[in-house]
């Protein structure tokens, strides 16, 4: 090892993205210059109000929705909570959801469906689990840990059929489909009419926008109920003075993501595939989780396991060499539990314990991926040698 500090190679974009400078530039005037409370009655405040509503309109435009059907929240977790609060009955979700969705489900009568080994929620699993008292089905558009992109339209068809059945049977229980598209927003088209969901969550933090800014889109049929009471902002659905710079940044971030999505997804997929090839060539015994077909996997995500090795050690060793990656195993401390996602796809303990989640992002370069691959190979080899694994 050399004495000079290694170049930092950040490869954990599923956890956090840097705010894009274009986004930051768009936000900056709204901190100290146009700082006014959008609800204030004077002309200056109108500038803030207008900019804020323009941003809402821009967000709506990006997802093919009407501005008034968007509720702005402090992040995706709150948006998910708001979606769940719209129903009283049983909720149905799957075993690989994000903690915010799972926690909302656990707080209510709920049904959890299993996923396939590739992490797919199948329409037949939803159909089989869908009881007459279910009022909300929640399936994330893409999973942030293993990258599985769901075929949401097939799931929507099942929901629609059940809704039709209830209508014909004269049953009164409503039924909505919610999707958390936070992890998908950078990579997939988010047009609400083609998604065919009734509720959609999006986060700014995962698309190079600010943290603690998100939205919930709801179709006209869904009646949302507020969780945060106060001054009645957001049509009474989310009180609290509007986060003007945050929402302006969010709009800019989503516009950029929408404009660059196709090209950027292709670039990230190529880099990811290159990284995967390099690592598998060196370690043919390594296990890649998530869908085999590239088009059903988030483009910048590689979930790779080195069975027999301890991922938490690998993360520390990589960190020492300047490479920041996530681990597939959850909170190391909580009784050595492995990630619920890996448990759900049936990963064995050794595979789960040895898994890294590597996510590439907009600033990632080919040179960085090549350097990271070399360092990962070094570190994995060093650990194998230390443990006497051939």
């Amino acid at each position: 090892m050399t004495n000079t500090a290694p170049e930092n190679i950040y490869l954990d974009y599923a956890a956090a993205t840097p705010v894009d400078t274009r986004v930051l530039d768009a936000m900056l005037p709204y901190f100290s210059d146009v700082f006014y409370n959008p609800s204030a009655p004077y002309a200056l405040a109108r500038r803030a109000r207008t900019a804020f509503e323009d941003a809402r309109a821009a967000l709506a435009h990006c997802i093919g929705a009407r501005p008034m059907s968007i509720t702005l929240t402090a992040g995706a977790t709150e948006a998910n909570n708001l979606a769940f609060a719209s129903v009283d009955g049983t909720v149905l979700t799957d075993a690989i959801e994000h903690e915010s969705t799972l926690s909302c489900a656990r707080a209510r009568r709920h049904i959890l469906v299993d996923v396939t080994r590739e992490g797919f929620v199948t329409p037949s699993a939803i159909a089989a689990a869908l009881t007459p008292d279910v009022e909300l089905v929640s399936v994330a558009l893409a999973n942030g840990e293993i990258g599985t992109v769901q075929n949401l339209r097939e799931i929507a068809a099942v929901v629609k059929a059940e809704r039709q059945r209830r209508l014909e049977a004269g049953e009164a229980h409503p039924l909505w489909l919610h999707t958390d598209a936070s992890q998908a927003a950078g990579a997939l088209s988010l047009n609400v009419s083609t998604l065919e969901a009734d509720l959609v969550t999006i986060s700014a933090a995962k698309i190079y926008g600010p943290k603690q800014v998100g939205l919930l889109w709801a179709s006209d049929d869904v009646k949302l109920r507020p969780l945060v009471l106060g001054g009645g902002q957001e049509g009474g659905l989310r009180s609290g003075t509007e986060n003007v710079p945050g929402v302006i940044g969010f709009a800019k971030a989503l516009q950029i993501a929408t404009a660059e999505r196709t090209q950027e997804s292709r670039r990230l997929a190529q880099l990811r595939d290159q990284l995967q090839r390099t690592l598998l060539q060196e370690f043919p015994w390594a296990v890649v989780s998530g869908p085999k077909k590239s088009r059903w996997r988030l483009p910048g995500l590689l979930h790779i396991s080195f069975p027999g090795l301890e991922a938490r050690r690998l993360v520390i060793l990589l960190d020492q060499r300047g490479v920041s990656v996530g681990t597939g195993s959850a909170c190391a401390a909580s009784k050595m539990r492995i990630s619920h996602v890996l448990t759900a796809i049936g990963a064995d303990e050794a595979t789960a314990a040895g898994s890294l989640r590597i996510t590439l992002g907009r600033p990632t370069t080919r040179a960085q991926v090549e350097a990271a691959a070399r360092i990962i190979i070094d570190v994995v080899n060093a650990e194998r040698q230390r443990l006497g694994i051939r």
Partner: protein
Amino acid sequence: MGKKVFVGMSGGVDSSLSAALLVEQGYDVKGIYMRNWSQDLPGFKCPWAEDLADAERVAVMLGIDLEVWDYEEQYKRDVVDYLVDSYQRGCTPNPDVMCNEKIKFGVFAKKAFAEGADFIATGHYARVRYEEGKPAHLLRAADEHKDQTYFLWRVPGSVLSRVIFPIGDIANKEVVREMAAARGLEVAEKPDSDGICFIGPIGIQQFLLSQLERKPGDIVEFETGDVLGRHDGAFLFTVGQRKGLDLGGGPARYVVKTDTANNVVYVSADKTCPALWTREIVLDDCKWVSGAAPAAHGYLIRSRHTRKLEEARIEVDPRDASKARVCFDEPVRTVAPGQAVSIYDGLECLGGGIVSGNL
């Protein structure tokens, strides 16, 4: 490869440096993180996650394995429940003494030896003098200020002969930190852990109230019998305690006695109050490092981790080596029942006992 040592690693600077020194000395080292019981507090999801992560970073850096051994159940039973029971009976126990005896040098040592360890090691400030074929001797650390033999006197010499305290010879904590920093250990600047580890930030009184029924009673002036105020349970108070009485002004008052049977706390404003002073402390449940009780003689004793060594004559009951009396020439402050007293001949810790009363 050298002899096999299993070192208890807590993620703190002392055990981290201990592990590093053992590696440098050529031992075949394995780190063990002992998971103890910890109360789930709102807002602290995994209170020990950061300590484990620190230990893990050190282990990775040293190129040694780190395993997590779960002692949650034993710790709850032998340390936490013991602590709560003791307080309930009006005693003020020392959980660290029990943790060392039952966990670190009890079940941990046993498992380590069963799994092939030649030695176990910890980051305690203490020293061991080995004697071929005989139980080892326990000596105070080079750093008298940090010396932890007060917590180790219940560990038998037969176990100590297979124990290494790698930092017991280091002059002081500053040197420990410097040595850790020189080795690039990130924990070099980590603050010392303070207080009872499993209670963390909430404090002993609040912890006890979370475990035991609140039991309101009177605070009575020792000399006059006047009721001065109310308390939430006599078990919450310890002789000598000044804080937490909440008597609303007036002179500073000290707890001179607690009567848990009748749930009364006696206080006095008089520092010379005879109930605060004693010439003789009675010990129960004594343990002797060598296995043999010392002859009646003048020794040094310590009745609190932070209190100075005091001279005293120790008289062990000739019929029962688990009972002893500690006699002083001059009156000393009384020691709360349940507290530990460790006994020394020069540098050597001979053992100690648990205070059952003051005469």
